[in-house]
Symmetry: C2
Subunit: 250 residues, 2 copies
Amino acid sequence: MNYKAILQYDGTRYRGWQVQGNTDNTIQGKIETLLTRMAGEPVEVNGSGRTDAGVHAAGQVISFRCQTDRTPEDICAYMNQYLPEDICVLSVEEAAPRFHARLNAVRKTYVYRIWNAPVRPVFERKYMTWIEQPLDVDAMRRAAELLCGTHDYRAFCSLKKFKKSTVRTVEEVNIEHLGKEIRISYTGDGFLYHMVRILTGTLVEVGEGARKPEDMSTILMSMDRANAGKLMPPEGLTLECVEYEDNLKK
Amino acid sequence: MNYKAILQYDGTRYRGWQVQGNTDNTIQGKIETLLTRMAGEPVEVNGSGRTDAGVHAAGQVISFRCQTDRTPEDICAYMNQYLPEDICVLSVEEAAPRFHARLNAVRKTYVYRIWNAPVRPVFERKYMTWIEQPLDVDAMRRAAELLCGTHDYRAFCSLKKFKKSTVRTVEEVNIEHLGKEIRISYTGDGFLYHMVRILTGTLVEVGEGARKPEDMSTILMSMDRANAGKLMPPEGLTLECVEYEDNLKK
């Protein structure tokens, strides 16, 4: 049977989503170890995408195949019973035989949270990046509009060599100012390596007055990483949700 | 000079507010050590009240006397520079000579947060108590009304011997249902030892159907701890704010 599950995790103490060699301090590693123990046979887990070390997920989607007599609800309960307190499973359901969490994802939303206040955050310190200087949110919104659309985003990617297309469609960049929090949501069909954190760093530099909103188009067209802003730290970033074509939901 | 300051802290890794013997793992201990170092002479800090081990504060108020050439803003910046990431100072101001954070407090608000959902909280796990079974919030609200007023609250106190009055005025118990969170705010002129956590435990038992709202009056009148509900764990509790008479604010 093929399954789809939705996970949440606090990425603070992990080396990211993807299994890396022998070090098992990854979310994928934790999940695969657990499902392998449950099924009594090796289970491979596919995530909708990798999240970097320190990045969180409120709605990471995974798919995996395994043979078990348990119902999806039982699998979910089993996983939550043994997972550490910083990872949980929101739901498990049977999926169409060809469903694959990464290959079939059509839309993802990431949220970058900034604590913009003179005093650092205490309760949200693991989920927000602190910026003391007041940011010009209106200027950031004007810049964000220019970053949307279908473009080659390689200027906003940390990789230096590209084997695959670096063209992506960013449908929306929404910036909310909620008290001391500035919350930037990015929705698109996919994001390059470090892309959300570099887009955010560039928007922050606009908010600081160091760049103008209209510079965004020039940066995009330059296709040169050196022209974009800084890479923001991972703790402010959360993978919010992943969407699939309706006919693959089940 | 006499000062008033407002603090926030994540109480997770502390043994509570109050200095206890040699063990310095208390919030008061951290603050006194820091101010003593800053002033070059012993500084004694008075909090508006003790918070227990594991309890948080979003607006703990303190007062302290010290001689320094620094402005209140400089004291605030100095403290935030050296405090650990789970404690911060929101503000420091000069206070009236007779201002005392505990003796002059006229109103306090505590918030108890419950995560009421089938799956445990990941991001809010250190600030909420998880209750899986759906609670009847309407019944809890009816019970909460009966707990307000001016009463002898010793049935809701963990102490067994009382030297001082156990009469308090609870002005309001407000229960909000915000998605998966049930947020109970208590406002009153003061609270006995463990009182907010026992009131919450009793309300939770009403929400579970194990007690009726109208039992609250009987419990209050019995003045017997054995008749009230369980003591809730500390991590769900936050001291939200402390109010003073206007003429003592400065």
